[in-house]
Amino acid sequence: MKPGDPIKLVAELLDLPIMDKDGRYCGIVDDVELSGNAGKKMRLSALLVGPGAYEGRLPRWAYWLTRMIAGDRIARVPFAEVDHIHTSVHLKCRAEVVGLHTVEDKVRRMIPKGGAL
């Protein structure tokens, strides 16, 4: 499926894993951002990634718990950066370009470079 094709948001996009152009996992489509006006055609403008996007998708207490543990950051991935959608969403760019992989990179700095010879 290409970005210009009509899409069933829940069945075909929400909660799919995202892979960057190097084939690295870099998040899940936690929510989407739509643009357009009432009565007009809606357009998908961005994918929202991160625990902050769970608001509205989880019961209030569960969201509060998630926010306490994982924070409330959200990365906005412009839909123009999507190359194609199949069982994963494949990006045209590297994760860092759209603000993904930030936590992964922070945690990486804490792990020794050795191991698994």
């Binding site: 894993p17 995202i18 996992y25 069982t87 994963s88 936590v103 945690v107 990486r108 792990i111 698994a116």
Partner: protein, 401 residues
């Protein structure tokens, strides 16, 4: 390793030996039935990994949605964590039998060795070491041959039946063992581990034959070893009214025909098989969490290349060890592991079935009539078993009758 290290884990060791002692050969069919089930779901998860390139937990989140997916993740993480603690406790017990040193110290040493080996060794070496040394469990099959087992009765055990003349209490205990064995054979972590492995090894449609052979041969081999333990127990322990309550009793099955060498081989086989299962459980938890939240994951990557995945598997071992260090009886952990796992099974296998039945993603590799029928049949069986598990546990005080 999925076949030996994952299949003959501490739960199967305990439940196979106890079932043989209590009900003779009558529960062999439960192992056979569970084995067909795990073959069906493993083959399906491997095929989905090869064709749709999706591991189980990605499917689960996409198909069940965030709320139900999160609930499944939590339940599954808890059940796999308890299973991991049971394996760590099992290793501690087996090392205690082998060395005579304190059980808790041996559990700490086991965890340290597992952590160090997973940090230092490439995964294929971990797989080979624990998988191949776990094959010492074949000593149980050799013991069965050497005691001149009643092969006719063993063959009869493969036919589903309930032994006649059981009291209501015994009948409930029989049903509890049936559910526990199905749960132990169909542990959900095996499918998470297997399908994630398929993705990492970059399986494609050309690997589907390998997937089928691995599922059938690997799982059947593990099952035959578990059935050997049950049959030895039925032959040696049942008539003597010996209740093999701890893993060490099972090792006596090999000691009786082969003496101290047999005992050593059986204990070493058990140690490495249980160690393999411990690695699988902790990796499965790391896979589950990482896939659910879209983190980098992979056992073929260096630890720093998938940092949150690395922290997840280390944390799983540390928490499992902490559970053991509370002093909880490892056999209680085994009971809880099978009880929690059966509750998670329907939620694990439903999304897998839905995707494997979806022609849009699977094209010509979609479930055929046989896979679809068997899949739904086993889904019905595990759902019924999940519904019965807690009532049976309470009614029988954990199989005590």
């Amino acid at each position: 390793m999925t076949a030996v290290g994952g299949f003959v884990d501490i739960s199967e060791l305990v439940f196979a030996a106890k079932a043989g002692s209590l009900f003779g050969y009558a529960l062999i069919w439960a192992f056979a039935l569970g084995t067909i089930g795990i073959i069906v779901f493993s083959e399906m998860s491997g095929r989905v990994a090869a064709v749709a390139k999706q591991p189980v937990f990605n499917l689960m989140r996409h198909r069940l949605g965030l709320k139900l997916g999160l609930l499944t993740l939590a339940a599954s993480a808890i059940s796999t964590l308890i299973t991991c603690a049971a394996e760590v406790g099992g290793m501690g017990l087996i090392l205690h039998y082998l060395t005579g040193w304190p059980y808790l110290a041996m559990a700490i040493a086991s965890t340290a060795v597992l952590l160090a080996s997973m940090w230092v060794l490439p995964f294929k070496w971990i797989e080979r070491t624990y998988g191949l040394l776990g094959l010492l469990m074949i000593s149980f099959a050799a013991a069965l041959v050497s005691i001149h087992a009643p092969w006719g009765k063993i063959a009869g055990g493969f036919v589903p039946h309930v032994p006649s003349g059981l009291s209501t209490k015994q009948m409930l205990a029989f049903a509890y063992f049936l559910v526990a064995i199905l749960s132990a054979v169909l542990f959900p972590y095996e499918t998470y581990f297997y399908s994630s492995g398929g993705i990492e090894e970059q399986w494609g449609p050309k690997d589907l034959a390998t997937n089928r052979v691995t599922s059938i041969v690997g799982m059947s081999l593990g099952s035959l070893l578990a059935i050997s333990i049950l049959a030895n127990s039925a032959q040696l322990f049942g008539p003597a009214n010996v209740g093999p309550e701890i893993p060490g009793s099972a090792a006596l099955e090999v000691a009786i025909p082969f003496g101290s060498t047999g005992l050593l081989l059986a204990l070493l086989g058990m140690l490495f098989a249980v160690a393999g299962a411990a690695v699988e459980t902790c990796m499965s938890n790391a896979y589950a969490v990482s896939q659910f939240f879209g983190w980098e994951w992979g056992r073929h990557k260096k630890p720093w290349e998938a940092p949150r995945f690395t922290i997840a598997w280390i944390a799983c071992f540390v928490v499992a060890l902490a559970m053991v260090l509370t002093g909880i009886d490892p056999m209680t952990l085994v009971e809880y592991a099978v009880l929690f796992s059966i509750l998670v099974l329907p939620l694990t296998y439903l999304p897998l079935m839905l995707l494997a039945n979806d022609r849009k993603y699977m094209s010509q590799y979609v479930n055929g009539r046989l896979a679809k029928s068997l899949g739904w049949l086993f889904f019905g069986i595990i759902t019924a078993a999940a519904a019965a598990a807690i009532p049976l546990y309470l009614l029988t005080s954990g199989g005590q009758g």
